[in-house]
Subunit: 405 residues, 2 copies
């Protein structure tokens, strides 16, 4: 006979959680259970001061000289190097710049150009949509490409395929792909892989180099807590860097940006994946967040994540769980299906439990081991069950759609 | 007989300068004469507080809900609308997003697609180089294009030309183009115009609509004081918006980004020139700067700019002035040529006069009417003349090149 879990058990788990001390490093509004770090991570406590230094000291006092003295010019590279460890890459393989969408344009262009004789791209039908939009943008501009948008990407790979574009963790279901196995299968057909890490970077250990991945992109404002719209990143495996070219050939990617040559000569290494002038102020919170990440072992993050999501699924017995129950197939979120998910989520937010809604009928709950507690899982589900039992979500005010949902 | 100008005259000019009060709105380090606002504008005093609100209140407390409640989602459009007045555009014609380089990629692609039968682009041989790099990036990807990089763009226009790409103010010489006349000439040949406003926006009145310009891009971190790498802008004349498509088709440009459709349907209006998630924190200083710009008439800015640059040229008699002496042909900078410009500029910076160097032999001095005083011009030239007279620039320490020069 199994003893049922009680809140007291979970208080004990929180007290003995080795990552628990990190919660103090973040700002968490009083009374809020924030299970939306897979959409926007919370504010690192040190970020405000870091931003103040960038604005008041570096910009205000250092002015244009800060491009040298404050390391602004190198931010995409130095911040990229700090991100590299978190995604299993080496120094010089990751650049922090632009948005995920813009970076996808760069790597898709670069990957397709490495395979000029192949005119087919495989991607997931349930990909994060912007990935498919960018794929359209790139291939319409190039002309002559065929897309295979499929559920079973493994079955769609053959020797005609130039590039496989996949999400490491599915944004709706939280399903986690086996990067090593899929990359190996792709390579067996000579297919180059482009991984979207938006929902895995900072959520679990990513091993780009160990898996021999080719290209990847990801954002830093979800699990990595870099702030709204913080610089995204792009990964290019070292073995491709010399031949890989991307068309957003702005001056920051030039071999010698300040000689102002008329012709474009790409920089050596990852810097050639730069385009224009980087948004310096937006790097500051991300650097404050990376100071915390420097203290963290991603295996510990993963262990706690599996425990958090497993606990949620266990306590959610009887609800319609969409995410895989096998933890090896699951990222760090759990999604529930309910025909009135929009209203239910609005009611939850009103009660201080923040997840989000994804059309047409899904509630997402993200679990961020650096600041989520086991008791948060308990409390969130208590409130959800009460909302469902009392049907308080039927209040008409919860039916009004916000612009961003 | 003309009375020679004295410093006392200029003190009087400063005292009676109607824009003079605005200097108080900016942070200017003690003892510094900052003539580099054409590279990086200074910090608006209100920017720190504005950033603090965005970080601590909107992000820290509002979290993901701030995409709605703090207007984050609409920042590219609302900030774009505020920029519109400064460049002679209407509401809904300007979007604030990404970098100038990335925006150039968008508008060049869009403009070329409007002219599928023409395969020639005209641009200036002495264009800001990143413009040419992006032109290369776009046309190499499309294939089959010819570039005419010429000194005399007027003479290179004919009915084969799809697009004319020009800088409103030349980054090295400060030469100002006649936007109305050149646009009219281009249109006579059916050529679409793409204007780079980096060195004119905030420096002088720009009349995109009155001149019937087609497309434009520009940055906000120079004369507009938005901060290092602050969001750039893109202008698309209303008459082109319905047909214009750009290939960086990220979700923020989708007609309905949160329905997560698999297919891309561009938003109506300027929003279709969005790509990925905007760097929210970097918009905050720009908005603080725009609060100041709301109080300013650009004709007053131009009048003071002409007086500042004219004074500099007058007081620089005997030096090798590269910029046009005719003020109607001049932006808001004056460039001097000297064979040892690099060392001379280093010596100037050491004495508290900040301009910059542009290879191979040019010193640039930018005049920003919101915070530059007439006495600054006098004092800067006094110090420059002393450095040249004593040859203090020959100190070997001034020969050491910084990474960013």
């Amino acid at each position: 006979m199994v003893t049922p879990i009680t809140r007291a058990h979970l208080e004990h788990w929180d007290e003995t959680d080795e990552l628990g001390v990190l919660r103090e490093e973040f700002v968490l509004p009083d009374g809020l259970i924030y299970l939306c770090g897979n959409s926007l991570g919370v504010l690192p406590r040190a970020a405000s001061e870091r931003v103040r230094t960038t604005v008041d000291a570096e910009w205000g006092q250092g002015l244009v000289g800060s491009w040298n003295t404050a390391g602004w010019f190198d931010k995409p590279v130095t911040v990229g190097d700090r991100l590299a460890r978190l995604v299993g890459a080496d120094s010089g393989e990751v650049l922090a710049a632009d948005s995920t969408s813009v970076n996808l344009f760069k790597v898709l262009s670069a990957a397709l150009a490495l395979h000029p004789d192949r005119k087919t791209v495989v991607a997931e039908a349930d990909s994060f949509p912007t990935d498919l939009y960018l794929l359209d943008g790139v291939t319409e501009m190039l002309g002559g490409y065929e897309h295979r948008l499929v559920e079973n990407v493994e079955g769609a790979l053959d020797d005609q395929v130039a590039v496989l574009l996949v999400n490491h963790v599915n944004y709706r279901t939280g399903r986690l792909r086996d990067m090593a196995a899929l990359t190996e299968l792709a390579h067996r057909h000579g297919v180059l892989t482009v991984w979207d890490l938006c929902h895995s970077a900072g959520a679990l250990p990513v091993h780009l180099n160990a898996c021999e991945a080719d290209f990847a992109v990801g954002c830093t404002y979800k699990y990595l807590n870099g702030g709204p719209g913080s610089p995204a990143f792009v990964y290019v495996a070292r073995r491709h860097q010399e031949r890989a070219r991307q068309p957003l050939s702005g001056w920051m990617g030039h071999a010698s940006p300040f000689t102002f040559d008329v012709g474009y000569t790409p920089s050596d290494g990852i810097r050639r994946f730069s385009a224009g002038t980087p948004p310096i102020v937006s790097y500051a919170p991300l650097e404050a967040s990376l100071d915390i990440w420097d203290r963290v072992d991603l295996d510990d993050v993963r262990a706690k994540s599996v425990k958090l999501t497993g606990l949620f699924i266990e306590l959610a017995a009887g609800l319609d769980v969409v995410s895989p129950t096998d933890s090896t197939l699951r990222g760090s979120q759990v999604s529930l299906r309910h025909p009135e998910s929009y209203a239910v989520m609005r009611a939850l937010v009103d009660r201080g439990v923040v997840g989000d809604f994804r059309a047409p009928d899904m509630m997402r709950f993200g679990f961020t081991p650096l600041y989520t507690r086991y008791t948060d899982v308990w409390d969130a589900l208590e409130i959800l069950r009460e909302i469902l039992a009392t049907e308080s979500w039927r209040d008409p005010k919860y039916a009004v759609r916000a612009k961003v949902t």
